[in-house]
Each structure stands twice: as structure tokens, then as C-alpha cells.
């Protein structure tokens, strides 16, 4: 393998993360787990888990944000706990298939928004010219 090939391979290995939120609510929304996740289109990486209850949500949003516990530093959780959180999400369909779809959908939606943006801007400047 040449130096150039090696360099290209390293560059190609650099993936991009897309952040998404998974909410699992039960009891008519009375309680909720909020998973902050990231994906490269192939795997799901959990970065934070927050617990909320309805009584929390009845407070003012700003106060709520400052007062509620955001959850532990996820990276410092015991590995077995992290693995079980991962399985918990997988059981609910938050897996590599969904990760792939989310990544594709991100690109597709952005393309749709981009085309819509061009169309609207063109219409705007056309009205002036």
C-alpha cells in the first residue's frame, strides 16, 4: 500500500455524526426517558440519558432546565449499564437499520430544503428584477 493510499483510507474512515433524540414515554407521558444519541449511519451511540416526570414538566421550562438532573456523565457509567441501555433501545427499534434510515433521511431532507430554498430565493429576486 502506498503512502497516498494509506492517507486516503484514513480520510475515508472519518465519519460524521448526526445527533438525534429518542424519547420513550409511558403512562400517558407521565414519565419519560430522553436519550441523546449520535449515529454515523451504521451504529447508534448513546451520549446521555435523562429521566423526566410529568411533575417536572409542569414547572416553568427555564427553571426546569436549571433544576432537573441531566443524568450522569454517560461515558463514566459502568459498561454493563451502557450495554443494557443499548439493548433497551434496540428492543424498541433504535438499531443499525434505523440509524441508516435516519442518516439517509437527513441527506434527503436537507436536499429537499435546499431545492426549496433555491426556488424561493429565485422567486424573491425575480420579483425585484
Amino acid at each position: 500500500m502506498t503512502t497516498e493510499d494509506s492517507s486516503v483510507e484514513i480520510e475515508d474512515d472519518e465519519e460524521a455524526a448526526l445527533h438525534f433524540i429518542v424519547n420513550v414515554s409511558k403512562g400517558d407521558g407521565g414519565e419519560m426517558l430522553e436519550f441523546s444519541c449520535a449515529t454515523d449511519g451504521e451504529t447508534v451511540e448513546v451520549r446521555n440519558v435523562r429521566y423526566e416526570s410529568l411533575s417536572d414538566a409542569e414547572e416553568d421550562d427555564a427553571d426546569l432546565l436549571a433544576a432537573t438532573y441531566p443524568g450522569p456523565n454517560y461515558d463514566e457509567l459502568d459498561e454493563t449499564v451502557q450495554e443494557e441501555f443499548h439493548r433497551y433501545l434496540e428492543a424498541r427499534g433504535v438499531d443499525h437499520v434505523l440509524a441508516n434510515y435516519v442518516a439517509e433521511l437527513h441527506v434527503h431532507k436537507e436536499q429537499t430544503l435546499y431545492v426549496d430554498w433555491i426556488s424561493k430565493v429565485q422567486g424573491f429576486v425575480g420579483a425585484k428584477e
Partner: protein, 167 residues
């Protein structure tokens, strides 16, 4: 030579594509047009992908889509016309992937609105669980596996239980 490098770079450059609010084909064209002599010289020492990446970063940082399109023919074409050409190009070249055409993995349902950057997938699980997945299409991607700073996600709002002060 650089055409093949550009094709390889398109995947690696996805974060920059997102950041530039431009499609991959457009970024490829732009990267080619913005490669300069120093990039080509650098390519001899590193790699074509690195050279393209350098060119793109410079390009995205210092200019916009409209600058690139209009700069070559600004004396002959107005903004309205070049936007029309870009629009036609995007509409004629972009084809949604098979994954998109197949729709979300069952039993997830897609909830989105035209012009709205937020996308939500919903499903139920078991007797009383509701699962929702939310993300923003305008979000700029970041490196996936790094020693990232503490992640502070945007708070999501409860649709059915939000307490309004006037209530």
C-alpha cells in the same frame, strides 16, 4: 486524476456538504472549480482527498454558493438565471436513495412538514410506551468518534402535557 479523488472525497466530505447547505454533486463541482495550484502541489505530498478537503474548507469558509455560481458569468447572467440553472440541475440530478423510497423501518411512522427542518419518527411499543425520534435536518454534522465536549442536547417539548402559564 482528480475526478476519481473527488468521487472518493464526496463521502468523506459529507460534513462539509451539510455545512454548506449544498448537495454532493454541487460540492463536487465546486471543489473541482476551487482547486488551485497550491492544492495540486500539496496533493503530491499528501493525497487528492486532502487537497480537495483543503479547497472545500477554504471555499465554504470564504464564499457562498451564489458567489461561486455567479462569479464566472456575473456580467452575462443575473442572479435569477443562475439560481434557475442551479435549481434545474438539482432537480434533474438528485434521485432519492432506495432506503428513502422504501420509507421508515416498520412500525415507525414519519412526521414532517414542508419547509420544517425538524423530523420525527414515532411508534408505539408494548401496551403503554410511545417512542419518538427527533432530529434537525439543518444540523451540521460533527466528527463521530472523538473526545467530544459534554453534549447538551436541545430540549424537546412535550406535546400533550406542556403546561401553559395562561391555563
Amino acid at each position: 486524476m482528480f475526478r476519481s479523488a473527488l468521487r472518493r472525497a464526496r463521502t468523506a466530505l459529507q460534513p462539509l456538504v451539510t455545512g454548506a447547505r449544498a448537495s454532493a454533486p454541487h460540492v463536487e463541482r465546486r471543489a473541482l472549480s476551487t482547486l488551485c495550484a497550491s492544492d495540486l502541489a500539496a496533493a503530491g505530498r499528501v493525497s487528492p482527498v486532502a487537497a480537495v478537503r483543503t479547497a472545500l474548507r477554504r471555499d465554504i469558509h470564504h464564499s457562498s454558493l451564489l458567489h461561486d455560481v455567479a462569479s464566472t458569468d456575473s456580467s452575462e447572467k443575473g442572479l435569477y438565471q443562475v439560481l434557475g440553472e442551479e435549481l434545474e440541475h438539482e432537480r434533474s440530478t438528485y434521485v432519492p436513495s432506495e432506503i428513502i423510497a422504501a420509507g421508515p423501518p416498520a412500525p415507525f411512522e414519519l412526521i414532517e412538514s414542508d419547509g420544517d427542518c425538524e423530523i420525527t419518527l414515532v411508534r408505539t411499543y408494548g401496551d403503554d410506551e410511545e417512542i419518538s425520534i427527533t432530529f434537525n435536518a439543518a444540523e451540521v454534522r460533527a466528527p463521530f468518534r472523538t473526545t467530544h465536549p459534554p453534549f447538551h442536547p436541545p430540549r424537546t417539548r412535550r406535546r400533550s402535557h406542556h403546561h401553559h402559564p395562561n391555563n
